[in-house]
Each structure stands twice: as C-alpha cells, then as structure tokens.
Symmetry: C2
DNA sequence: AGCTTAATGAAAGCTACTTTCATAAAGAAT
DNA sequence: ATTCTTTATGAAAGTAGCTTTCATTAAGCT
C-alpha cells in the first residue's frame, strides 16, 4: 500500500473532528479499506473485514457515513453497482475500470471546472459530475 | 421538436437496414420518443406511448434493441435508474441533468479521444466512458 | 456507574430492471 | 392468400443492490 500511514493519520483526524463514534465495526471496515488499498464493492469490503453476511447493511451505512465526511468516493459501475474507494479528503479524481475484474487505475484528467462553469450558465446549482472510463484490462482480454 | 422529420427518416433507415421487425409496439414507442424529444425514463416512455403497466418489459426490450442499432443512448442518473434518449446514429454527447425533475441539457464537451488514448496506454481495450453532470435546474431551486 | 445519543442487527421492503417460457404476430416463402 | 419460420410479446417470477423500520446495543461524556 502506497502511503497508508499518512492517509490513515489524515483520515483519523477527519473522523475525530466529525461527530462520529469509532466503533469496532467501523474500525474493522476502515482497516480493511486501508489494507485493500483499492476500490471495492460493499460485499467485497464486508468479506475483507471478515464480517458476517448480515452486516452488509452496516457496511452500506458506514460507507455512507464515510462518504459524508469526505473520505470515501463512490465509483459507479457501467451497468449497476458501485465500487467504494478510500481517498484523502478533497482528492477528487476519476478512474479507468475493468468491466470484468473491476481492477481500477487512477485517471488524473477532469473537466470539472469547465463543467461547473457551463452548468452555472445554464442555471444549474449544486453541481456534481460523474466520469468513469470502462474497458477490458489486459488480463481480462486474454481470459475471454 | 427540433428536426423530427430528418431524425425520423435517418432512424427509419437504420431500422430498415437492421434485422428488425417493425411491430405496433415499437412504432408507438418510437413515435413517443420522437414526440417527447428529450430523455425519459422507461416508465415515462411507456406512459407517453400509452401502453399498459405490464408492457414495461417490452419497453426495456425495445430500448435495448434500439440501443443495439445505435439510435438510443442511455443516460445514467446520479443514484439509480436511467434516462433514454433518441439520437441520430453516431451522435455521441453528454448531458447536464437536473437531479429533481430530470430535465436535461446537451453538453458538447468530451474528453473521449484523450481518455481512449490513456486507456490504451494502460492496456485497456473495448473502451467506453460515462460522463454526466448533475445539479438543480432553476425551476427546482425555487421549488425547494 | 449512569445516561444520552448514535450505531447495529434482523427483517422486510424497494427500485429498476432481467429472465423464463408459453403464445402471438411479422414477414418471407409458397 | 396461406403456410411457415422466426422474432416479439405478455405474464409471472426472479434478481441485484441497496434502503427502511424498529427494537436492541454500545459509545463515550458526566
């Protein structure tokens, strides 16, 4: 994992300054996210955190909470479902996603500024945008 | 509606040259799409085409078929669900979408070329991308 | 240790499709 | 026009991916 220690510290700071309780489940989910160090589905995260099947609801709630304080980013898949990624606060970016194995690569290219400007010209407020790139990674090309 | 006649002709050409049967349902759905002249949900399309509730499955199948021949583009919503838009063949573009009323505006700004290039550098093939901008349109700001 | 408020677990519910399979209707062949 | 083949449709059930409800538990402040 790349900068686990730094990230963790910054994330713990964010969590401490939020009106949040650090429960066992949340600790385990956070640890699993750090250990994985890549975007995962809710179910995969639950498995990595070694929680029982029934805890999927807690996983979703925790992801929602973490997204609320800005340390989780949701990555929509092409058809349905999402991946969730631990990010440093305010680290907006997009992804290349393999539609087979869900391997992701970071994409540092974004039209955010331009989009917001045009959106405001059209009278839109509270603007957000989605941008993800889907394809088949090398491994999955071979496999198929 | 903007160029209904021109669009319709080009679309009918595409349909004729595809191995497709022009059934009553498809005719009505196509007519509804032309009349609406904007992206709609599957349910809204069914209502506009004046089909019974049970025909939603036919709507989805027709949309899938039409998407296959390139005359329908799917616009994913921010959280879940999709809008479907009649387009001229090969008219790739993105949208501003009001997250309240689903009003959409066309967005002629796309990083497609650059994205594909980077994707191929990373070893990805069969690349596609999603980019939509969400916000509140003027009407919906007032309402809330 | 007690107290308040937030988090969890179990269960059911929900949205937006998708699949299955028997029936109907295009449209080509005769 | 009728038959035949193939595709489209309808009804019903199924599915994925969450979300809600509500009773119980446990943070963590006092």
């Amino acid at each position: 994992m790349k900068h686990a220690k730094g990230i963790l510290q910054r994330i713990l700071q964010v969590i401490e300054s939020a009106p949040l309780r650090m429960t066992r489940k949340r600790e385990r989910l956070l640890a699993a996210l750090v250990a994985l160090d890549r975007p995962v589905s809710a179910a995969a995260l639950r498995d990595k955190a070694d929680l029982p099947a029934s805890d999927l609801v807690t996983v979703y709630r925790t992801l929602e909470t973490f997204e609320g304080i800005g340390i989780i980013q949701r990555i929509p898949l092409e058809d349905s479902g999402s991946l969730y990624e631990l990010t440093e606060p305010n680290d907006h970016h997009h992804h290349f996603v393999c539609r087979e194995c869900h391997r992701t690569e970071r994409l540092d290219l974004c039209l955010g500024q331009e989009l917001e400007k045009q959106a405001h010209t059209l009278g839109f407020t509270q603007v957000a945008h989605l941008m993800e790139v889907y394809g088949l990674c090398e491994d999955c090309q071979v496999a198929s």
